[in-house]
């Protein structure tokens, strides 16, 4: 029996993994071969997807990108024994892109059968939870604080501190909410975990529940992720059947229930308070803080709301210890971060590494430059609200503080690469337009300001009193940054001002490549 792995991750499916799986099965049957097909998640080497792997004594050998039409030739070349083929990538673990990573959170992703609880256990699953079940809540919280884990959803708030607040809040009912609304452009880490290793998220949420005394959790999944939603729902069903969830978690007598909910299809619903509104059945609109959700969140109960990656990083912290985790990283940015490389880049994919590697390393060494072959002009880091980084800042280390110092942010660690055809005045306009499109409309600076920003940049682009308009945009940016109720309006100035600052030439009337387009 040979085990063949054909990923079932949406990214792989979108480039034909399903057809490949069908073809492999058909071909194996036709040839009378004893092949067991495993539908794993993705390794996150997207330029190789669909990446078909074969288990061999030397390790898992990968072939990719495989199309259904390639399948007969793979069989003909005896890929089942890891033989040579033009698509052969060698032992997957040895591919430098992967070999150069430090996979803690994604340690299992792409390796195991995502639905198999046994596979999960066989690869070290539940060790963190088992440990947590032996600990007092405060000790669990202490471990998470000590690990230095910070929120991976964007704001980078220390996860353990948030948990401590919720633990100390007194209430008969508390909740754990997982933010899986993943709306940042160029990001997909949350989705990959839900599709490739859902039990790690469930385990992390159960640990969070134990830590703060919550017995009920929700995973709020972006509506554009129907596949992840189905997989998560199914995994929750399995977890319940296997005693990970329910009234008696792993026989401990502790309760934790979990429910997956489909999001409302708005970027703003990823913001935690508006996510809570949406979970409560209302329109996704921002609540003011304080009170913090950890004190008064879902249905006005203490609620821990964390990103998928934050929660999925908890099991290993409990398993291997806070010290192990905090060994990784630099400065106040501890542990690893799954960086998601996308845009105009040769080798897009997930790069889980300790904080501290530079933008240059990410873009050039991992990414291999642009897909178009043209020079890289800039990257945008942290989603649509992140700053644009010019090449001369590519030595900046990937680290919360280092980024903030230079007017940027890490956010959910999406890195989008642009080549030299990009026009930054257009991108600044896009930032306002995005904000205008996604604004919940509650506060004045964002509701009206974003629209006015678009109009002002349009005047700049038209060459209509550009200097005055840029001054106006700067003033507007101050009002939005300091005046907005939430970070959507508050961070929109980041891409706008970084574009103006680093690429002033794009805002000059004489150089108007867009007009020519």
């Amino acid at each position: 029996m040979t085990r063949v792995f054909v990923p079932c991750d949406s990214a792989a499916l979108s480039v034909g993994a399903y057809d490949v799986a069908v073809a492999v099965a058909a071909e194996a049957t036709a040839r009378g071969l004893d092949v067991t097909m495993v539908r794993n998640g993705s390794r996150g080497l997207f330029w190789l997807e669909p990446l078909v792997e074969v288990e061999t004594p030397r390790g898992r050998v990968g072939y990719g990108p495989v199309h259904a039409a390639d399948v007969p030739s793979l069989f003909a070349a005896d890929f089942l024994s890891g033989a040579a083929h033009p698509l052969r990538q060698g032992v997957v673990e040895a591919i430098p892109y992967l070999a150069n990573q430090q996979r803690l959170t994604f340690a299992r992703c792409g390796i195991i059968d995502a639905y198999s609880f046994d596979d999960y256990l066989a690869h070290g699953g539940l060790r963190g939870l088992r440990r947590a079940l032996e600990l007092e809540p405060a000790v669990i919280v202490g471990a998470v604080i000590d690990s230095g884990l910070r929120g991976r959803g964007g704001a980078g708030f220390p996860t353990g501190i948030k948990w401590r607040t919720a633990l100390q809040a007194e209430s008969a009912q508390k909740y754990i909410v997982c933010n899986a609304d993943e709306g940042d452009s160029g990001t997909y880490a949350d989705r990959m975990i839900m599709e490739g290793d859902p039990f790690i998220l469930i385990e992390g949420m159960v640990i969070a529940g134990l830590a703060v005394g919550a017995t009920k959790g929700f995973v709020y999944i972006r509506s554009e992720y129907p596949h992840a939603f189905r997989r998560m729902r199914r995994a929750i069903g399995v977890a319940r059947a296997r005693g990970l969830l329910g009234a008696d978690v792993l026989g401990s007598g502790r309760t934790f229930e979990l429910e997956a909910r489909l999001g409302a299809g708005a970027y703003i619903c990823g913001e935690e308070t508006s996510l809570l509104e949406s979970l409560e059945g209302r329109r996704g609109q921002i609540r003011y803080k304080p009170p913090l959700p950890a004190i008064s969140g879902l249905f006005a109960r203490p609620t821990v709301i964390n990103n998928v990656i934050s929660l999925a990083s908890v099991p290993i912290i409990l398993d291997r210890g806070a010290a192990f985790y905090r060994e990784f990283g630099s400065g106040r940015s501890r542990g690893t971060m799954p960086i998601q490389l996308a845009g105009n880049v040769k080798r897009g994919g997930i790069i889980e590494r300790a904080f501290g590697l530079t933008l240059g390393e990410i873009v050039e060494e991992f990414g291999g430059g642009t897909q178009s072959g043209r020079p890289v002009r800039c990257v945008q880091v942290g989603g649509p609200l992140g700053a644009y980084w010019p090449r001369h800042l590519f030595d900046v280390p990937f680290d919360y503080e280092a980024f903030a110092e230079r007017g940027g942010m890490i956010g959910h660690a999406g890195v989008v690469v642009f080549d030299d055809t990009v026009n930054l005045a257009r991108q600044a306009r896009f930032a306002f337009a995005f904000c205008a499109l996604e604004s919940c409309g509650k506060c004045t600076p964002c509701r009206i300001g974003a629209q006015r920003g678009v109009e002002a940049i349009d005047r700049v682009i038209r060459g209509d009193r550009p200097a005055a308009q840029i001054a106006l945009v700067r003033d507007l940016c101050e009002v939005m940054r300091d005046g907005s109720l939430c970070a959507l309006g508050g961070l929109t100035p980041l891409p706008v001002l970084s574009a103006i600052e680093h690429f002033p030439e794009d805002f000059e009337p004489l150089r108007r490549p867009v007009a020519a387009q």
Partner: protein, 945 residues
Amino acid sequence: MSRVLANDRGTPPRLSEQQVSVLIDGHGITVPAGTSIMRAAVVAGIKIPKLCATETLEPFGSCRLCLVEIDGRKGTPASCTTPVEPGMTVHTQTERLSRLRRGVMELYISDHPLDCLTCSANGDCELQDMAGVVGLREVRYGYEGANHFGAKKDESNPYFTFDPTKCIVCSRCVRACEEVQGTFALTIGERGFGSHVSPGMDEHFFDSECVSCGACVQVCPTATLMEKSVIANGQAQRSVVTTCGYCGVGCSFEAELQGDRVVRMTPYMDGKANHGHSCVKGRFAWGYATHKDRITKPMIRATIEEPWREVSWEEAIGHTAAEFRRIQQKYGRGAVGGITSSRCTNEETFLVQKLIRAAFGNNNVDTCARVCHSPTGYGLKTAFGTSAGTQDFDSVLDADVIVVIGANPTEGHPVFASRLKRRVREGAKLIVADPRRIDLVRMPHIEAAHHLALLPGTNVALINALAHVVVAEDLIARDFVAERCEADDFATWCAFVSRPENAPEHVAGITGVPAAEIRAAARLYATGGNAAIYYGLGVTEHSQGSTMVMGMANLAMATGNLGRSGVGVNPLRGQNNVQGSCDMGSFPHELSGYRHISDEAARALFEAAWDVALEAEPGLRIPNMFDAALDGSFKGIYIQGEDIVQSDPNTHHVEAAMRAMECVVVQDLFLNETAAFAHVFLPGSSFLEKDGTFTNAERRISPVRKAVAPLAGLADWEVTMALSNALGYPMNYKHPSEIMDEIARLTPTFAGVSYAALDRVGSIQWPCNAAAPTGTPVMHIGKFVRGKGRFVVTEYVPTDERTGPRFPLLLTTGRILTQYNVGAQTRRTENNVWHSEDLLEIHPHDAENRGIRDGDRVALMSRVGETTLRAQVTERVQPGVVYTTFHHPITGANVVTTEYSDWATNCPEYKVTAVEVRPTNRWSQWQEESEVLRESTRRVAVAAE
């Protein structure tokens, strides 16, 4: 919008033991923990610019004008949403803040029409004020960008317009509709720049769930939501604080005036009954006061076949006095009497009963409260010793279980209902006992824990079953009962309710309410924390109305739900001054303060004060007056402000009685149905035209203040006085305050009440005397007024009004939000757009059986009469029960109601009539005749030039 609050503290007060001290712009201030920085600042005398915050609503944090800087904190938090913390140092005015505020205002104005000078809010607009405060001088964005200038005006509501071009999307209106009114009619549609206020799903206000309470208009800081009366007339120049003339909630209002013209009525923030809220009637339906139908000249005629003749006041009064004296000489002193009005002031009511007792020389005085809440007075006095509800309205905010029996607060007592709903949204449990599925059973964010949908007429069976469960399951508050109630009575009562015929399983067969439901409701009431009962005419207007009132009192005593905030037995009074008219001695057997006329000491007090001998025997009640008129012994009646022909049961009987009299004097605003039978018409004065007081359902005496001069020249009290003087009994009050002083002198529970005191504290809940100088919000604290609480055995006796083969359905009656009782006022306002006719609600099964479709004209027949109206097929009523309102004279719902009444008080049994319904295509004979009569008896002779 309404007038900008002069001292709006921005966010609601917070109650906390803990006090927090902060430094704001160098001023130290100490406030309760949880208070916003904004509110703390106002308390310290510092105003922070704001637009989305207002004291009546929870903070929202959307406009971003109120940003401040706090030492040691990053950024510029909003002061409305940030609570004070110990030791905080706050700066409200810095260069940076000025820039931000100007920037925000620049954005606002970039999407705002620049027509301030012609705007209806000009001079009273918060946006305008704030633009001034932040020093906006220029809008650099220009006006070519995206905007809402083309948005369509919604003028569908008869009283206010919605002009979205002026909207700043502060959501105050949305929040007011949710938090204050509890209707949830408004939302914000779309998002981002497209965000806009949307009634329902972008419907017109009129087509939405909106009940036109005006809460949204009240809080709107711009001209977006604006009263049409202000658009038409402009801003007011002066205002007078007064009390609503409609229902028993007794909301406090500011009448806003230009000269003698009312331009707007706005709910008064400091009004203790309403706290700045209102309903469509008080807020908007005041146009009747100047309606062309108002009669402003006295009129007389010899017979009702003749047209009316306008005469001078002197002639009218002289004629009336002469007639009454003639009748008394011919038929005896007891051949005349009068009816006081629950619509008029305490002072006027007091005066009318004084006129009758002192000048007519008999006790033939009764009041229209007879037909609504007389059982309340009887029942509560028997049980507790006071003829009034036990709580103030605010008490409901401390209730954990709220029981609504035979009342429909969202229609009848809307402002109280809003507070009740708010408490339910906060988590209190609700039990509704009503034959109909009233709105409270289920509406946005409200769901009753139990709806006990009993058959009309079975209240007492139900209350006994609830009591049975409390006793059988030992849910009794033993300590309370032992300490505060009569032990023997209690034992007798326990034995009585324990009898098997009172068990829910047996009573289920009578009431139609499943036994399990009764048991669950009883347990909830007895064990759910503070439990409060609110009831209405669905309790009192029954042959066992008084029994039911005592039954509820029993239940409350047995479970210890009396004598503190959050509990009690509370009547929801129908008319503005039902409580007051009862207090003022309007009943034939009682002097003011509920002292029996046979009580020597009480009578002596009045005789001394009035310098006249009083009869010791109670006089005639209203139904007895009718009977006496028909047997020829009662010939003259003075009716102030009540339309007995339309509102009293069994119209045929009443009409016959009226025709049998020789001098019927009607004092009213309009030629009402009763005036058709009158010989003298004395024009009345509306609540805007006189000074006085009203007493609401929570015993709150609130001032009514003269906003404009009486249209007819005299206020009602002056007319009564003139009549008395003409009869030879002198009355010489210069002002109603002197009448109140007399009331206070003669009535122990009013001893501390005076106009000066009312001016000082706004309103007073009686008893107000030396023992309770500031009044009494909650009664029976520590001890019942009568000493020990009295349990009364309340045996269920089915009404004689039974369904049978000829009349198989039960008719019950009620009110609707937009109309008021006989409709004389509300029908003369735009409120008619909501309810232009009375409809008969009938269950689809019953309709189907009779071939009735929604909207069909149907004949409604009982053994006493027949009328017709249109049917509304709905599952709101249960099979076997039909329901209608009684607001329109042409419907004449009381043509079918019977003469049955409460055994103790004669309160008519309006709520149960056996009827049959069948399709028809023409009016009933009564309707035809009364239409003719109405035409012929309303003629006024044209005065010769």
